[in-house]
């Protein structure tokens, strides 16, 4: 290189040493390496997260896992299965029957959105999708109740089966309301808690009513 001819270096200075790049500990997220993992791992991770949330609903404690890592897979699965199980009800051509699939879907999602909006308008500090996640996951006891009701109705549709269904649906309704209140009540301003809890009560009551009044053809 012609320009370097002017640089006066008396002698060649050997440059040697070690170049070490400090490698920190692996970050717990490993976000950038999930592309290479097998598909089974990806799916299992999401499934485990969903399953952990189901367990949280079963034994409601004040844990923030449900709130922090929200996802809507669980609510979607629950809503679809509940709506499917509510099909096949009595639908005469003259009278109207039970709710259709779309009606159940709309009631659950629109109801959850309205309750979330209500809680935010009243000054709640929970985020929109976190609240949707909690309300959706807490539909799980009612889905279990629907399953039990259908099984009981297979055995018969008399008064005894109605009483059993009433007890089961009532217990699950209480469980749902308590579970969702346990998760959501902390994020509300203290003097408005009842104003936020009441719509949740109404929401699960309507779903319980739909489950209880399900009559097969």
């Amino acid at each position: 290189f012609p320009g370097l001819a002017d640089v006066s270096i008396s002698q060649d200075i050997p440059v040697e040493g070690e170049i070490t790049v400090p490698v920190g500990s692996h970050s717990p997220d490993e976000d950038y390496s999930t592309l290479d993992e097998p598909v089974k791992d990806t799916i299992m991770r999401d499934l485990k997260a969903v399953g952990k949330k189901f367990v949280h609903v079963m034994y409601p404690r004040k844990s923030s896992a449900l709130l922090r890592d929200w996802d809507l897979w669980g609510p979607l699965v629950l809503c679809v299965s509940l709506a499917l199980m509510l099909q096949g009800g009595s639908a005469d051509s003259k009278d109207d029957g039970g709710p259709q699939f779309a009606e159940v879907f709309v009631i659950i999602w629109f109801g959850a959105v309205v309750i979330t909006l209500n809680s935010k308008l009243l000054g709640g500090t929970i985020s929109f999708f976190q609240s949707l996640c909690v309300l959706g996951y807490c539909v799980m006891p009612l889905t279990v109740a629907m399953l039990v009701c259908r099984l009981v109705l297979l055995a018969g549709a008399g008064t005894v089966s109605f009483i059993i269904r009433l007890i089961v649906v009532g217990a699950m309704f209480g469980w749902s309301t308590l579970a969702s209140t346990a998760f959501l009540a902390d994020s509300q301003p203290p003097n408005r808690k009842a104003l936020v809890v009441y719509p949740i009560f109404l929401f699960y009551f309507v779903i319980s009513w739909m489950i209880l009044t399900f009559t097969p053809q």
């Binding site: 109207d96 935010k120 000054g123 009044t213």
Partner: protein, 306 residues
């Protein structure tokens, strides 16, 4: 609009996350003092009307058409604007419900309870509760009335929920809109002392529907006399709340128009109650403990049709 709504929610998410990270942070809403302009306004009136002003509502609201008072200063496309309509505590909502069920004679519901802080929480959730109460009670009542009949097959009658929802929400929003428009029109012709904002009228109507919730639950009792007594009773209570609210707003007007307005308000209210009773609740059968005759010959049919 969906993008705008999602953007607003995203913004609010950030704020909510900030608040969640620091839960001790309190949000303070600053109310502009609305007492001062009220007093100024009342001093400008004739002295004879001052005693009415004690009983009547505030009248500074005709300056801000759809807004109540000067405190709604956020632009309407922000979330905070709508939060101002939900600025009520639990005890305030309960007080307003109590005021609608036990009307104090001579006192105005708006002046006493709303006090320039109309909320949308009460009207919305009272209407929602009423919709489901009427649908569920109607279903239960029909079930009990027709229980035991061999030809009866229980249906949940879910379509009626949407009909109930449409009717009740239309009543709770369109009638106040019409009434507010009518009052504004009359205000331009006759100088009224009292005028209400749209939200205050929606509030009064919403809370006045509360009495129908226990009434609908009691309508399950399959006795005609009981049902009609309940209709009259609840109509008296909620009708008196409405009359005491709106009579001061129209009484300066032409006598006939004032009476006609109040009569229309009561008539629509009665129509709602009677219509719900007629549509959602089947008529109870007469208590004839006769066994069901399996064969219908023609003479029986003639007797029945008489």
């Amino acid at each position: 609009i969906t993008c705008l709504v999602m953007y607003l929610f995203a913004e609010f998410d950030d704020a909510a996350n900030l608040l969640a990270a620091n839960p001790d942070a309190t949000t303070i809403s600053i109310d502009e003092p609305v007492e001062i302009p009220k007093n100024q306004h009342s001093r400008l009136q004739e002295p004879g009307r001052e005693e009415d002003d004690e009983l009547l509502g505030t009248d500074d609201s005709d300056k801000t058409e759809l807004l109540a008072g000067q405190k709604k200063s956020a632009p309407f496309w922000t979330f905070e604007y709508y939060q101002t309509f939900f600025d009520v505590d639990t005890y305030q909502v309960l007080d307003r419900i109590k005021g609608s069920v036990f009307p104090v004679p001579g006192k105005n519901f708006v002046r006493l309870y709303i006090r320039s802080n109309p909320d949308l929480y009460g009207p919305f959730w009272i209407c929602a509760t009423l919709v489901f109460t009427i649908a569920v009670s109607g279903n239960l009542s029909n079930f009990f009335i027709h229980l035991g009949k061999p030809t009866y097959h229980y249906v949940p009658e879910f379509r009626k929920v949407s009909i109930a929802a449409t009717t009740i929400y239309a009543y709770a929003w369109l009638v106040p809109l019409a009434l507010w428009g009518f009052l504004m029109w009359r205000n331009s012709k006759v100088m009224n002392i009292v005028s209400y904002s749209f939200l205050e009228i929606v509030c009064v109507y919403g809370y006045s529907l509360f009495i129908y919730i226990p009434t609908a639950m009691l309508w399950i009792i399959p006795q005609k006399v009981v049902r009609w007594v309940l209709v009259v009773f609840s109509l008296c209570l909620s009708g008196s709340v409405l009359v005491m609210t709106f009579w001061p707003a129209v009484r300066d007007d032409n006598r006939r128009i004032a009476v006609a307005t109040v009569a229309t308000i009561l008539l629509l209210h009665a129509l709602l109650a009677v219509g719900c009773l007629a549509y959602f609740f089947d008529a109870p059968e007469l208590d004839i403990p006769a066994p069901i005759i399996p064969a219908h010959n023609s003479t029986n049919k003639v007797v029945l049709e008489q």
